[in-house]
């Protein structure tokens, strides 16, 4: 590393990624420009740059600042922690300039979370392990730039969507696990699940990965993957390691503790809006999920359909993302397993909107260096083109429905969402296949 640092990089790109400063500085400036542009558009155009969700969060924070429940704001379906974090957005100073600055403080927080997530990505890439040889800093930064300089990511956080916070939570969680910091990992996991539920899918992967050999640093046991093992009971006993117990107990305690605490303050509305809503919602409005048209149909005629897919839809989703993928992939490559889990969870979900794509996008820089998409550029471009095109087809059908009033539910939107789903499944299959490829690459 030291030797590398002394050589002077020649090309512009190489110089850009040589040190940390240019990348993080430009990522920050990039977001600052978006943020200022957004302020200008909000002040001058009836069409707003700021996401509706940001107004929901800040309205909730306003209720909170008056000592009321954030759930007084309709459609606030998040933990009170989010509204707490955004309390500065409702500070009123009397000066329009500072009011605007404070109002934007939540966006600054989300954008800063993006940068921290990028930094964790760089750390993870340079650490290596996990079936990945450690990278040098400049190369790691090139991959981190996929997240840091991604206009989609920058737009989403500067418009005021809170997904950037999840990016930092998930990358920090992964870093803590790989760095063998079980307590920190447990705290992050418990908090992450409290914050947005879906990170619970990472629990089985992390637990499975944390085997005795890895955590103690001892060599791998011969029976880890094949051959007749010892009795079931002794295998179970060997499975329950101190690190695993620590992770399970602490994360569960954090999750339950936070929920009990919030319930004490905000009562049943907290439970209803943060958790139960996501179980009972009808999800009938058009979105990318393959189940969407089906859900509209069955919600309108609840008595007619014999086959209630929505009541078993969680099965393929959870079997893949919580059982099969963690079991087969986690020990081979934890980042790739988590990427595949998230990809499966989002693709097989009953509701799927574009902000969910950020959930897996943050893990892409960890997978791509050893992927067949990078190795075979044509395959990579083909996958990207299919992903974009099938989404575009859906968006076009959605536009015709939403703004032109054409009844495109069937076959247009339905087939488009199924097509997008199949493209996602294909990409997921390639990602899964890549774990046996990985050690050879880089």
């Amino acid at each position: 590393m030291a030797g590398q640092a002394t050589t002077t990089p020649s090309s512009l790109a190489a110089r850009f990624f040589h040190g940390r400063f240019p990348l993080y500085f430009s990522a920050a400036i990039f977001r600052l420009v978006f943020l200022l542009y957004g302020l200008w558009q909000d002040a001058n155009s009836p069409v707003k740059y700021t996401d509706i969700d940001y107004l929901v969060f800040t309205d909730a924070a306003r209720f909170m600042s008056k000592g009321q429940s954030p759930y007084h704001r309709e459609t606030y379906r998040y933990t009170p922690v989010l509204a707490w974090l955004l309390l500065p957005t409702v500070w009123v100073t009397g000066s329009p300039f500072w009011d605007a600055v404070w109002f934007s403080s939540g966006k600054v927080l989300f954008a800063a979370a993006d940068l921290v997530a990028g930094w964790f990505l760089e750390r993870l890439l340079t650490m290596g392990g996990q079936g990945v040889r450690p990278m040098d800093g400049p190369t790691a930064r090139r991959f981190a730039a996929i997240w840091l300089l991604n206009p989609m990511v920058a737009t989403i956080s500067t418009r005021g969507s809170s997904e950037g916070l999840l990016g930092v939570l998930v990358t920090a969680l992964l870093w803590a696990v790989v760095a063998r910091r079980a307590t920190l990992a447990a705290l992050l996991l418990g908090f992450g699940v409290h914050f947005k539920i879906y990170p619970f899918i990472y629990a089985p992967a992390i637990l499975w990965w944390m085997d005795g050999e890895r955590m103690s640093g001892a060599g791998p046991s011969k029976s880890s993957s094949s051959g007749p093992g010892p009795s079931l009971l002794s295998r179970l006993a060997r499975f329950i390691t101190p690190a695993r117990l620590q992770l399970a107990v602490i994360s569960l305690a954090v999750f339950l503790g936070l929920n009990v605490f919030m319930f004490q303050i905000y009562g049943t509305p907290f439970l209803i809006h943060t958790y139960f809503h996501h179980v009972s919602r009808i999800d009938h409005r058009h979105n990318f999920s393959p189940y969407n048209t089906q859900l509209y149909l069955t919600s309108a005629f609840p008595n007619l359909s014999a086959l209630r897919i929505e009541s078993v839809a969680f099965l393929p989703q959870l079997v893949l993302s919580c059982v099969m993928i963690p079991f087969i992939l986690a020990k081979k490559s934890l980042p790739t397993a988590m990427l595949a889990q998230t990809f499966a969870f989002v693709s097989f979900n009953k509701v799927c909107t574009s902000q969910y794509f950020l959930w897996y996008m943050v893990l892409l820089p960890l997978y791509l260096p050893t992927s067949s998409f990078m190795e075979n550029k044509r395959l990579g471009l083909c996958a990207l083109a299919l992903w974009v095109a099938s989404q575009g087809l859906w968006l076009q059908q959605g536009f015709e429905l939403e703004f032109l009033g054409q009844s495109t539910f069937v076959p247009g939107l339905w087939l488009a969402s199924l097509g997008f789903f199949l493209v996602n499944c294909w990409i997921l299959g390639v990602i899964i296949g890549d774990v046996v490829l990985q050690p050879k690459s880089i």
Binding site: Y296, A300, Q406, T408, V410, P439
Partner: protein
């Protein structure tokens, strides 16, 4: 039972007393251009038991039906509401489950529903904001309702003896009315049924009945120099059948909260899709009176299929770009996500203050746009549902001078849904709803829904594709498993080891 029949002509068109023929049981006269109002007042014991038992649990009730066909009105009768069927009521103190109406609400809904040929679902009423007016009703309901045919039949069956042809004829005539009010309150203990026939050609004709005091007024709108801005005047001939041998001339004035702004508006959807925009086209940007504070308003009763988003309507820049000032009131709750078919409340009422662009000295036409959102509706064969959204009531709300009082006048209409949202000195100058095409004062819209005719493959197809995707991903997982099991792959272990 008492009866009052009023013909009201426009200004400067009064009749000489000699043109009316009065007998002890009837009054007749020429055919005139006028608006006609008939009001029957019943005491509780004159009503069928099923009705009076419901009214016993009611503190106050106003059922109003307004035709969705445009009609012209005159003078004291200009008070407007969106076309359709409105209920405003307050449960009595003794009503079972008086809190939100409870059982009394269900009972009232059933009786009114069967009387008007509509279905009022349990829990469909919304609460009105109380406080400002002690006499404002507590609960509101609205639904589109095309005609009074069913009500006319109901009234005929309940009120007319089989052999009484005149009674039957009168009830049949209700089918042609443009508006109907049924009001009851515990203070008067009387049920008033008032029907209004639009300003049109009609023959003066009234028939008295045994035991019924019938008062007939043939009046015209009047304006005298001594009258104040907020006052209305009428002059003409009054006759009480069986009591008066000839009509007596009369003239009186009274303060009125509802006035005619003498301009018109129409409404239509300009943007289709799931987020349609309703455009109001107003004929005049000049307030009806000078020297007082006036602002134009639109009061909507949106069926549950469509709604306004109060959060969207809170940004000043956005509102100004649509010629709106503010959303002054919206009934609660308005679910922003639920499909129409799971809704329980009737819909939502909204009061918007409009912002007329101030152009030159001259009166000019202008528009205001109201962004709305459609709910998902029940799938149909063909993929479209056809809806109609009634025009709002559009009026200039102007402040009357300090100290002005509005005592009850003979043609008073209170509890219209929006009057309780304003101060006690507000005068409503109504802008006449005029059809865009045809005769309907409602805006049609085509809503895209799931096409049932094409939905046959949705269940099977979705299941098959999800299973296919699941099978493919599982197959890839199985290949990995067969190749290197569930543990760490060997090379990665060695690299891990090397690292350590």
């Amino acid at each position: 039972m008492r009866e009052r029949i009023t013909y009201l002509q426009k200004r400067h068109s009064s009749l000489p007393p000699s043109s009316l023929t009065v007998t002890p049981t009837s009054l007749s006269g020429p055919t005139i251009h006028a608006i006609r109002e008939e009001r029957l007042t019943f005491s509780l014991d004159e009503l069928p038991r099923e009705l009076s038992s419901v009214l016993n649990e009611v503190h106050e009730l106003h059922v109003r039906w307004v035709s969705t066909k445009g009609y012209q009105s005159v003078g004291a009768f200009v008070g407007r509401l969106p076309g359709g069927w409105h209920i405003f009521w307050t449960p009595g103190a003794g009503a079972a489950g008086a809190e939100g109406g409870g059982d009394a609400e269900g009972k009232l809904g059933r009786v009114l529903g069967s009387a008007f040929g509509a279905e009022v679902e349990e829990g469909a009423f919304t609460k009105l904001p109380g406080g400002r007016f002690t006499n404002a009703a507590a609960l509101q309901y609205f639904q589109p309702l095309e005609s009074l045919d069913r009500f006319a039949g109901f009234a005929k069956g309940k009120l007319c003896p089989a052999e009484d042809e005149e009674c039957g004829r009168r009830m049949d005539a209700v089918k042609g009315a443009s508006a109907l009010d049924v009001s009851y309150d515990t203070i008067s203990h009387a049920l008033k049924v008032t029907a209004l026939w639009a300003y049109q050609e009609q023959e003066i004709r009234a028939v008295g009945r045994e035991g019924v005091r019938t008062e007939v007024g043939v009046l015209s709108d009047e304006k005298t120099p001594t009258m104040e801005d907020h006052e209305l005047g009428v002059s003409g001939l009054l006759t009480v059948l069986g009591q008066d041998e000839k009509p007596s001339a009369t003239m009186f004035s009274f303060p009125s909260r509802h006035r005619d702004a003498e301009s018109g508006f129409s409404a239509g959807f300009t943007q289709v899709g799931l987020h349609p925009v309703l455009q109001l086209k107003l004929g005049s940007n000049k307030p009806p009176v000078e020297g007082v504070t006036c602002a134009p308003h639109a009061y909507f009763t949106f069926p549950r299929t469509i709604f306004a988003d109060r959060y969207q309507l809170s940004d000043d820049l956005f509102l100004a770009s649509k010629n709106l000032t503010a959303l002054r009131y919206i009934s609660q709750p308005v679910d922003l996500e639920a499909p129409e078919y799971v809704m329980r409340t009737w819909g939502s009422a909204a009061l918007l203050e409009l912002k007329p662009p101030m152009m030159g000295e001259k009166e000019e036409a202008w528009t205001a746009e109201i962004p709305l959102h459609l709910r998902y509706l029940t799938p149909t064969h063909g993929g479209y549902a056809h809806l109609e959204v009634p025009y709002p009531a559009v009026f200039w709300a102007c402040n009357a001078e300090e100290g002005t009082k509005f005592p009850t006048n003979p043609f008073e209409r209170a509890n219209l849904g929006y009057d309780g949202l304003f101060g006690p000195r507000t005068v409503f100058w109504h802008v006449e709803p005029r059809p865009e095409t045809g005769d309907r004062v409602a805006s049609p819209i085509r809503v895209p829904v799931l096409d049932l005719g094409k939905a046959g493959w949705v269940n099977i197809g979705t299941a098959a594709v999800v299973l296919l995707g699941f099978a493919w991903v599982s197959w890839k997982l199985l290949l990995v498993y067969l190749k290197s099991g569930y543990g760490a792959s060997r090379t990665s272990e060695t690299s891990e080891k090397k690292r350590q």
